[in-house]
């Protein structure tokens, strides 16, 4: 396990992105984080297109997708990932400030692995990320 495992974080808000990075730092995985600014960039990364065409072949072990992003939103990215045979094994966690039920229902319909509402309190956010048992499982033993 000497290879660094990549975590894809798609977040358009730089402050949220920073909070996210700080939270993940808590788990000492900061080196492996790839931060993209919108859905289009996320897709470029996943499909190895544009500026990410040179990236190594390994898929990220998990993708945190903000729901509301410029260009392409999180749901669309998730849908594309889950319908692509090469990408669909990547666990998707939708992160959003919205509690709108329809987003939740739609996300689960697509097949995302988790749905996290950004809590107001940072501690709560860290707690939430911790509670994603799936995350730890993936960190240690990604599916083949």
């Amino acid at each position: 396990m000497n290879e660094l495992k990549k975590i894809l974080v798609a977040e358009d808000d730089p402050k949220d992105a920073e909070l996210m990075l700080i939270a993940l730092e808590e788990f000492k995985v900061a080196n492996n984080i790839v931060l993209v600014k919108d859905g289009a960039e996320a897709l470029d990364y996943l499909h190895k297109r544009g500026k990410y065409s040179e990236r190594e072949n390994k898929n990220p072990i998990v993708a945190f997708l903000d729901l509301k992003m410029p260009k392409v939103d999180g749901i669309t990215v998730a849908r594309e990932v889950k319908s692509d045979p090469k990408l669909k094994t990547i666990p998707i966690v939708i992160v959003t400030s919205s509690r709108e039920e329809k987003d939740l229902v739609e996300s689960y319909n697509i097949g995302v692995n988790a749905y996290v509402v950004k809590p107001v309190e940072f501690e709560k956010f860290i707690e939430t990320v911790k509670q994603l048992g799936i995350f730890w499982a993936l960190i240690n033993e990604p599916p083949v």
């Binding site: 402050k15 949220d16 909070l19 700080i22 959003t96 509690r99 709108e100 950004k118 940072f122």
Partner: protein, 611 residues
């Protein structure tokens, strides 16, 4: 016979009586006379025969001995017989033997006796032969001549008497007949006179006078009775006529003055009647219409639908109602409501001009269409605004929450980083900032819930309220950890509602009850239900702080709070949200309280049948 038929009853009666009397007397007299004649003849014959027989007996010897003097002597004895004019005796050979003549009567004796020896009546005499027998041998004949003058004189006097009697009888019967005729005919004549007078004067009030109570009287009675009836009928007819005339006048006046056009068209398609309105509607002068054919007045009308129905009514007597667009010869158009009815003269058409109404209708329709278009536009605009609002709310939820989250997030990191150098004062400031951020977050969440509730479409489903209550209490458990709360929850009904929204209602009411009993050592929260005929009444009661009814009006308003945030934290949106949801379900919310004695919150939900 003609004369008889023409003559009056009186003359007839007279004639009948006279002729009957005359005939009777004539017959009686004739019978009597004939009988007398026959009788006297028979007597004469018998007389002659007897005398002849006697002479024959007396002269048989003289004849037998041809003694003429003796025979003459026998004949002379006839001198005493006044009615014998003469006699002769004939011998066996038939020669005259002896003759006798009375006085100077000239008598021609027949030369030979008549073989038949019969009696013969001639002008004034009766002559006859009587045989003379000696033993059985006929030896001669006796010839006698009987004078009939006396007889004739007698019959003449008979006739005279008869005529006299007849004359007398006729005079008497004439007098009687006149009286009888007068008596019998008078009432009839008077009746006839009355009848004639009535016929002449046409006055049915005249009555015949009743003079007798026989059949004539009966006739008079019947006649008068008949007159009464005629008068009655006459009066009825006159009354009916007057009524009819009045009715006709009334109808005609009604027709004439009606607001609708009225016209009658005959079977030959000519105008028989038009009221003023109809004339006006026709746009022709009356003189041009009456008697003219509609097909001539409006050439080409035969091809219209109107004419089709007129014809149908004319031929099959079928009434028809129609709204008709009538195009005048000059091309202008009017709308009419037409009633086409069959009448004995042809067809009757009632026409109401609805052109103005029609125009208004069309205009109204136009306005209506415009309005509909406007409504459509407005609806679209409204929908647009609504969706804009929705996306706005969504954006607000996303964008307002983000800065709050950031404040809170970075505050936590900051506190972590400087926790070692933090004095108590600065620690408190950090806590206040944190509290404000959390409060702001809650406010935004509550506002979002409220706005989502306002625009939420509710879908009614059977909802188990008990289940919802337990679910919400379960969710709220962290808020009352370590407190002593007695829950008294009755069996609640299954209601029809939106489970998610009703969950919000229960959550708000229960969390309020929990919140406002926070300062009680022992809290009692009661949830029960009372049903009436068409509603479920649900009550959530606590023994908490309560509120003053004075401020009741503010209770269910947005951002309205009756307590200090420091005493009981809250955003003041919860009860507004409850009210919104319950009113969306067709129910009502109210509350009762006294400060320090707790509060009772009630809401009602209509009972909805599955049918």
């Amino acid at each position: 016979m003609k004369f008889y038929n023409k003559s009056s009853i009186r003359v007839k009666i007279k004639l009948i009586i006279l002729s009957v009397c005359f005939m009777a007397i004539l017959l009686v007299f004739a019978g009597f006379y004939i009988y007398e004649m026959i009788n006297s003849r028979q007597m004469l014959l018998n007389d002659l025969s007897t005398k002849g027989g006697i002479i024959a007996k007396n002269v048989d010897a003289a004849l037998a001995f041809s003694d003429s003097s003796d025979a003459a002597e026998v004949l002379l004895s006839l001198e005493t017989q006044p009615n014998i004019r003469g006699a002769a005796i004939y011998d066996a050979e038939g020669n005259i033997f002896v003759t006798y003549r009375k006085e100077n009567h000239k008598i021609e004796f027949p030369a030979k006796p008549n073989e038949s020896e019969e009696y013969i009546f001639s002008e004034n005499v009766l002559t006859g032969f009587e045989p003379v027998y000696l033993g059985n041998e006929k030896i001669g004949s006796v010839y006698l001549v009987l004078d009939l003058s006396e007889q004739i004189a007698r019959s003449e006097s008979y006739i005279k008497i008869g005529l006299l009697v007849m004359f007398g009888t006729l005079i008497i019967s004439f007098i009687v007949a006149t009286l009888v005729a007068k008596n019998i005919s008078a009432p009839i004549v008077s009746l006839a006179g009355t009848a004639e007078k009535i016929a002449k004067l046409q006055d049915y009030s005249i009555r015949a006078e009743k003079k007798t109570s026989d059949e004539t009287g009966l006739l008079v009675d019947s006649f008068n009775d008949m007159l009464n009836k005629i008068m009655e009928r006459d009066r009825n007819i006159r009354e009916t006529n007057i009524n009819l005339q009045n009715a006709e006048k009334r109808y005609r006046t009604t027709l004439d003055n009606m607001l609708e056009g009225a016209q009658i068209i005959g079977f030959d398609w000519t105008y028989l009647y038009l009221n003023e309105v109809a004339v006006k509607q026709s746009r022709f002068p009356r003189e041009k219409l009456i008697g003219a054919k509609i097909t001539d007045v409006y050439p080409g009308i035969e091809d219209t639908e109107l004419f089709k129905y007129m014809k149908l009514c004319m031929e099959e007597r079928k009434p028809h109602y129609m709204e008709n667009e009538f195009i005048y010869p000059d091309g202008s158009v009017s709308w009419y409501n037409l009633n086409i009815e069959p009448v004995p003269e042809g067809i009757f058409i009632l026409s109401a001009d609805i052109t103005e109404e029609k125009m208004l209708q069309q205009e109204l329709k136009k306005y209506h269409e415009q309005l509909e278009e406007l409504v459509k536009q407005r609806t679209e605009q409204l929908q647009e605004a609504n969706s804009e609002l929705e996306s706005f709310t969504y954006t607000v939820s996303h964008d307002l929450r983000a800065p709050v989250r950031h404040i809170s997030g970075f505050l936590d990191i900051l506190r972590k980083n400087i926790s070692k150098d933090l004095d108590q004062k600065n620690e408190r400031y950090l806590n206040l900032i944190k509290e404000a951020a959390v409060e702001m977050g809650n406010l935004i969440d509550d506002l979002l819930t409220f706005s989502r509730t306002a625009k939420a479409q509710i879908t009614l489903r059977p909802v188990n309220l008990n289940y919802i209550v337990y679910e919400e209490i379960e969710k709220l458990k962290p808020d009352f950890e370590g407190r002593k709360i007695t829950w008294e929850i009755s069996k609640l009904p299954e209601v029809k509602g939106d489970p998610h929204l009703l969950g919000i209602v229960m959550c708000n009411l229960i969390s309020n009850a929990v919140k406002f009993t926070a300062k009680k050592e022992e809290a009692v929260i009661t949830i029960n239900c009372q049903d009436n005929d068409d509603k479920h009444l649900i009550c959530v009661k606590d023994n908490g702080a309560g509120f003053e009814m004075e401020y009741y009006d503010k209770l269910f308003g947005v951002f309205q709070r009756l307590h200090n945030t420091s005493d009981f934290p809250g955003t003041g949106i919860g009860l507004a949200t409850v009210k919104k949801i319950i009113s969306k379900h067709g129910g009502e919310v109210w509350a009762q309280s006294k400060p320090g004695e707790g509060a009772s919150f009630f809401f009602s939900l209509p009972k909805i049948n599955d049918n």
